[in-house]
Symmetry: C2
């Protein structure tokens, strides 16, 4: 399993064998992709798990890891993990026995269970210093808090949510409707890609990922077509549409209060980690309301960024968020 | 032509005969729908023209007209006008010789020219006290200021724009892509309505018409499906898709500075009316930036509403806007 070096940022895979999902289905020979950065100390007390965002892979996380970045790999052993369904770990796009939309439903909790197995059974870590993640990575971080409350010291969800709002649901449902409304889609069994659907999906994402003010300030009206074509081309040739839908459905069903009868106060009472909650106040992709309500229930500190960057505030304000994380983890 | 009473709010039609469009095409036997409210005074000095918004008809304007409403028909003779392409006036949905997408391109300026003909040639009004309108009605109001600068005393664009921003363009292009991406669409020549496309179009509109905060506050996550199905059903059975696209394209091409070489300062220099500009600062459907820039160039007073109602601030803040309009018109 460790044919590639442990302390390297190259993509590695952990074999979880037969992995049971929340839906009751089982993924055979489940594989989880990951990359590590920095060195695990002798006490094994400096490991930080960093799962991927929606539609992203660990390759996208590399630029956030390093000295002076979002998380400092000169102090911490950072494990970036490919969430189930991201096209690197076992996913609709790479699971031959149940390909595409035959792939079973995924839950955010499935992603978390797979990451716990990776950390404990594969990497032999008795404990994590922290779990942190951006966007859907932040949703996984919230889920970690109540699924494995004793396993980490700290949890840092960044532009994540313990449960989606009606606005978030509307956004993801719109994208699913755009893809499924394309006659080429054929329930995922397409021979020609559903380009028209993926194009509209890209348009919807472009409407929500930053604020209107950001778009107005950064794109002149006469440049909109060029901007949009680049977004649409990236969508058509980018993240697999089947993976997109299964991960979107995982977010839609995400609710860490479910085992607590839907009572988020009871969910927060189960949290043992020290928590730092980072939100974008103008985030139109993951609404900050549930994360802020969670912070109040938990009396957890927050970093509230009022930026017209919207959801991508982690890129626009990386230095500020990174400094807050360094400070929080050093306490 | 005046078979129905002039001073009644029933729908009437004005025949404009052969009406030339900006595109160079001609609409044969062009008809404009309108409704009047209140009484024209002996001096013919109290007429206010009130064109429709995108996707709306004069029937939708009735509730905004009356004592204590947005515009007071006990003081003013209000002429609500159906914009070209709205399905009441000549439109892709009712123009037999060039139906559906064979209908020529429409411009906001075409709507304005047709309304000027209605006022001057049909209703024999030498002058208007004001032009006012909401949303695309506000865009027509901006267009009126420079197309017929001597014809009105006042102009009151409400959540309108002299030219769309990149964000607005993105929004309307998304909706067009959603409709045109439906295999049933067939360039407008559908036998089965493009329901999947109209459904996604409704989702996109629901994302933009109010703010995320408004949706989160007004719709619980568990009620989102019901909310969305109502929106989607209204879209599928509502405004004709061909009309929708032609009016959306008119907005996309809208730019009152075009005859001035794209110089908006020169456009404002052509304005002779007293102008009151009403915007929603959190409007995600018609971005307020160009209207506010126009107000600064013109040194015009503004009513700036910072409401999470977003674009529908005219409904949410009707009393406040109505009072400002009454005050402005009485000066």
């Amino acid at each position: 399993m460790f044919a590639t070096p442990l302390f390297a940022q190259e993509l590695q895979f952990a074999a979880l064998r037969d992995f049971p999902l929340e839906s009751g289905a089982t993924v055979r020979n489940c594989r989880i992709g990951y990359r590590t950065f920095g060195k695990l100390n002798a006490e094994k007390s400096n490991a930080i798990l960093f799962p991927t965002w929606f539609g992203g892979t660990t390759e996208n996380l590399i630029s956030f890891i390093g000295p002076g970045k979002l998380i400092d790999s000169s102090r911490y052993f950072v494990i970036a993990v490919d969430a189930l369904g991201d096209g690197v770990s076992t996913s609709p796009s790479n699971y031959a026995s149940q390909p595409r939309m035959q792939f079973p439903s995924l839950a955010i909790l499935d992603m978390v269970h797979s990451q716990h197995q990776l950390a404990e059974a594969v990497l032999h870590l008795p404990h994590l210093r922290a779990v942190m993640g951006i966007s859907m990575g932040g949703m996984q971080t919230f889920q970690w808090m109540v699924a494995y409350p004793d396993y980490m010291d700290c949890a840092i969800p960044i532009v994540g949510s313990p449960k989606l709002t009606s606005y978030d649901l509307l956004l993801w449902e719109s994208g699913i409707h755009a893809i499924e409304g394309d006659a080429n889609w054929k329930g995922g069994d397409y021979t020609s890609p559903p380009e028209a659907g993926l194009r509209t999906r890209a348009d919807i994402e472009a409407l929500a990922i930053q604020t209107p003010a950001y778009r107005v300030a950064h794109t002149r009206p006469e440049d909109l077509q060029k901007f949009l074509e680049a977004e649409e081309t990236a969508s058509i040739h980018g993240f697999d549409a089947n993976n997109w839908i299964r991960q979107a459905q995982a977010m839609i069903a995400h609710d860490i209060s479910r085992p607590f009868g839907g009572d988020m106060a009871k969910a927060t009472a189960a949290v043992k980690a020290r928590v730092l909650i980072v939100v974008g106040l103008q985030d139109h992709m993951v609404n900050p309301t549930p994360a802020l309500a969670f912070a109040r229930l938990l009396h957890a500190p927050t970093v509230e960024l009022d930026s017209d960057c919207g959801h991508v505030v982690t890129s626009c304000e990386e230095a500020k968020i990174g400094a807050a994380i360094t400070d929080f983890l050093s306490k």
